[in-house]
């Protein structure tokens, strides 16, 4: 008899089989999002830019003394964190409702449900990539050139964030089918999470105890890695933390997938 690990891995293998479908669904998601809007794809750039403007206004114009000289230019520093954070938070927000809004597919078509939350994560990852040219523009503007060796770590950081977000997305989407209010709780949790991640401040400045708390947050290490790669000069000092987070994310992903697989049969009936 096939044991549970075998079943889990054959489901994971299915994911690879469906990559064509994932691809076209992500493309559809991106096309559909801005269809009918005047600026279309430019919203992918404009949204993070707006967010940046708002935070720049608050923290560089209204409260200029709130941050140390080392994280100047502050706008650039914030942008290094806001961009990946937007990917993370919108992925989770969309993934949580993805099974419910895709109910038609789950109920009426032979369809691997895990694709839906993953499509949310991947579509937002594309948005993240589309925002990168702006970040590069900022880097050029401030004449900050990241070390070439550091840039090797960039895809690693993206991968860690992808695995972590995907794992959470699987768990949230599966649970939301049964507990609809997760979607509401989530928006509040994400706000709290945003401020518990060193995006608007520099982690080194955090006092001892709160730093230890921040270290427990996986997103801290992802964001700090982005900052070290793109913003700070010198070799990346955070790579151990990043790899540890990567390992934990892989475990989370497997756990999420396992949970999703366990609840899979209930979706068609509970959605």
């Amino acid at each position: 008899m096939k044991g549970p690990p075998y079943v889990l891995f054959s489901s994971l293998a299915n994911l690879i089989r469906y990559r064509g479908l994932v691809q076209s669904l992500v493309a559809r998601e991106l096309k559909a999002r801005y269809r009918g809007s005047v600026l279309g794809f430019f919203w992918s750039f404009i949204n993070p830019l707006m967010l940046l403007l708002i935070y720049t206004f608050v923290f560089a114009v209204v409260l200029p003394a709130m941050h140390s000289k080392e994280i100047e230019p502050f706008a650039l520093f914030m942008f290094c964190g806001i961009l990946p954070w937007t990917w993370f938070s919108s992925s989770l927000a969309e993934a949580a409702g993805s099974l419910i809004s895709g109910g038609n597919l789950i109920k009426k078509v032979l369809f691997p449900a895990e694709i839906l939350p993953l499509v949310s994560v991947l579509a937002n990852m594309i948005h993240f990539f589309l925002g990168l040219p702006i970040l590069i523009g900022f880097l050029v503007y401030y004449q900050r050139w990241p070390d070439a060796w550091d840039l090797v770590w960039f895809p690693v950081t993206v991968l860690v964030q992808l695995v972590f977000t995907a794992g959470l997305a699987l768990i949230l989407s599966a649970l939301t089918v049964h507990f609809r209010d997760i979607r509401d709780i989530l928006s509040n949790v994400l706000t709290l999470w945003f401020f518990s991640t060193p995006i608007l401040y520099w982690i080194t400045e955090a006092p001892g105890f709160s730093k230890r708390v921040l270290d427990l947050n996986p997103m801290t290490h992802v964001i700090v890695s982005y900052q070290e790669i793109l913003f700070f000069r010198g070799p990346i000092g955070h790579w151990r933390w990043l790899l540890a987070t990567g390992g934990a994310s892989a475990v989370l992903f497997l756990a999420g997938f396992w949970l999703f697989d366990r609840l899979r049969d209930s979706f068609a009936e509970a959605v």
Binding site: S24, A32, N104, L105, K107, L110, D181, A268, E269
Partner: protein
């Protein structure tokens, strides 16, 4: 060689969290997360169903709504898993269950065709090769680049159907989708199915169209509340199903009739109806309250009074009481029981066109009388009187009626078209004064395999000159 095989398949649907969506908060507070994830109620949709569909055959599944047909189809499609038993399918499946289920309204028909095709298991190349064929089949050439949200529901369905049918499956699952589109499109779908059959593909068809099953299927299955009641030859299965449908219709009619009779009797026991109440008959002329009707109809009454009682001539709508159910009369003679009897004398409510039908009245005369007329009237659901007569019109002279008695009105051949019919029965005086009048209280149904229209089916036959020819068979 079997294409689809179900062995001892049961499916129990679970309902989660009772009546409300459970909330995480309450689950946390009451520590019931695990319990809430457990099903709280179960509903068996299929019970130990086994059947197998040979390769290349067309298999029909029939049954009432909620009998588990669609569940069976979903199990075969792999959308849900059986609770117990095994489902085995050999070959590529395409399910015409929910057409266009994966369409995204904001993007164009063209893009949706690609995505839908990929969902159904095609590769991009295969779709590109078939794209023109799909669009032509859906008759959407001019609209294919418009967003799907601008499509009419017919266009939407046609596109969904076209994609699904071009997946080129070995096994095609069809769930009542022939109802989409206009006549022309339905024909096209049937042609496509016929083509599938010719090419040796297997079709599993869930439908309410018994005609289609008889014409099209090699075998059929009848599901009733999740149980396989009959399977095999479609004619036999459809026959068994129809018998069952008649039985339940009969029960329905019996309870409806009982209710109507009871309600009418409660309404106004004894004596003529007060004026003005609906149901107060103009036939109840004996009562002074209804006298004003007398003026209007006096002349007619004098000649036709009795026929009016039962036949309800298609008079002016001044007849306020047309088509109102009810019961009235002095009850000096009371109708205690009315029954429809079939050929064997068994009470029943469902007849076939051409059967014999007897209407048996049981009456009780509380005082012996020599002035009585029995009448009956048949109405269709539109309130049209199909036939009405009484013993006075047929020139039977009453002499004596006393105590318990029976009167039977027998029709040798019920030459009515399919439909539901209602019955008036009455006992009254020769001048029209009602003893007991039952207006439209009794219902029976006439069934017919032929789909002719109208009210009356005269016995008929067609003859043709030799140069007119018909193909034998259906």
């Amino acid at each position: 060689m079997t294409a689809i095989e179900l062995v001892g398949v049961s499916k129990v649907y679970r309902r989660y969290g009772g009546r409300h969506f459970s909330t995480l908060k309450s689950a946390l507070l009451q520590r019931s997360i695990l319990r809430d994830l457990q099903p709280s109620e179960t509903f068996p949709a299929l019970k130990e169903v086994s059947f197998s569909v040979p390769k290349g055959s067309t298999y029909g599944v029939i049954g009432r709504n909620g009998s588990g047909k669609s569940t069976a189809l979903k199990l075969v499609a792999g959308i849900t898993k059986p609770t117990s038993g095994t489902v085995r399918v050999d070959g590529r499946i395409s399910a015409l269950i929910e057409l266009g289920a994966g369409f995204h309204p904001e993007i164009s028909g063209r893009e949706n065709v690609f995505i839908n095709g990929i969902m159904l298991g095609l590769t991009k190349r295969e779709i590109r090769e078939r794209f023109d064929e799909i669009v032509d089949f859906a008759e959407l050439r001019d609209f294919i680049d418009a967003p799907v949200k601008t499509y009419s529901s017919g266009m939407y369905m046609r596109l969904g159907f076209a994609v699904a049918i071009h997946v080129n499956p070995d096994v095609l699952l069809v769930d009542e989708v022939l109802a989409v589109g206009d006549e022309g499109f339905t024909h096209k779908c049937l042609d496509k199915f016929a083509e599938f059959r010719r090419r040796g593909k297997t079709i599993l068809l869930v439908t309410h169209s018994l005609n289609l099953v008889e014409r099209f299927c090699d075998e059929a299955l009848w599901l009733d509340s999740g149980v396989a009641r009959a399977l095999g030859d479609p004619k036999r299965v459809v026959g068994a199903y129809l018998t069952k449908v008649e039985e339940s219709e009969e029960q329905e009619l019996a309870t409806a009739t009982a209710r109507a009779v009871e309600a009418a009797s409660r309404q106004e026991p004894g004596s003529p109806a007060p004026a003005g109440t609906p149901g107060a008959p103009r036939e109840a002329l004996g009562s002074g309250a209804a006298a004003r009707f007398k003026e209007v109809t006096d002349l007619r009454e004098r000649h036709h009074d009795v026929s009016e009682l039962t036949a309800h001539p298609a008079g002016p709508p001044a007849d306020l009481f047309q088509a109102t159910e009810g019961r009235w009369g002095s009850r000096e003679v009371e109708i205690t029981d009315v029954a429809f009897l079939d050929t064997k004398g068994q009470p029943t409510f469902v007849f076939h066109s051409g059967d014999s039908l007897s209407i048996r009245l049981r009456v009780r005369a509380n005082h012996p009388t020599d002035d009585f007329v029995f009448g009956v009237g048949l109405f269709n659901v539109d309130g049209v009187c199909c036939y009405g007569t009484n013993t006075y019109l047929e020139e039977m002279n009453p002499e004596r009626l006393a105590g318990e008695a029976e009167a039977t009105f027998a029709i040798d051949s019920l030459d009515l078209v399919e439909g539901t019919y209602k019955l008036d029965v009455a006992v009254h005086k020769r001048d029209g004064f009602p003893y007991d009048y039952h207006r439209l209280l009794y219902t029976f149904r006439v069934k017919s395999r032929s789909r002719d229209v109208g009210i009356y089916r005269p016995r008929h036959r067609w003859t043709f000159s030799p140069n007119v020819q018909f193909r034998p068979g259906p």
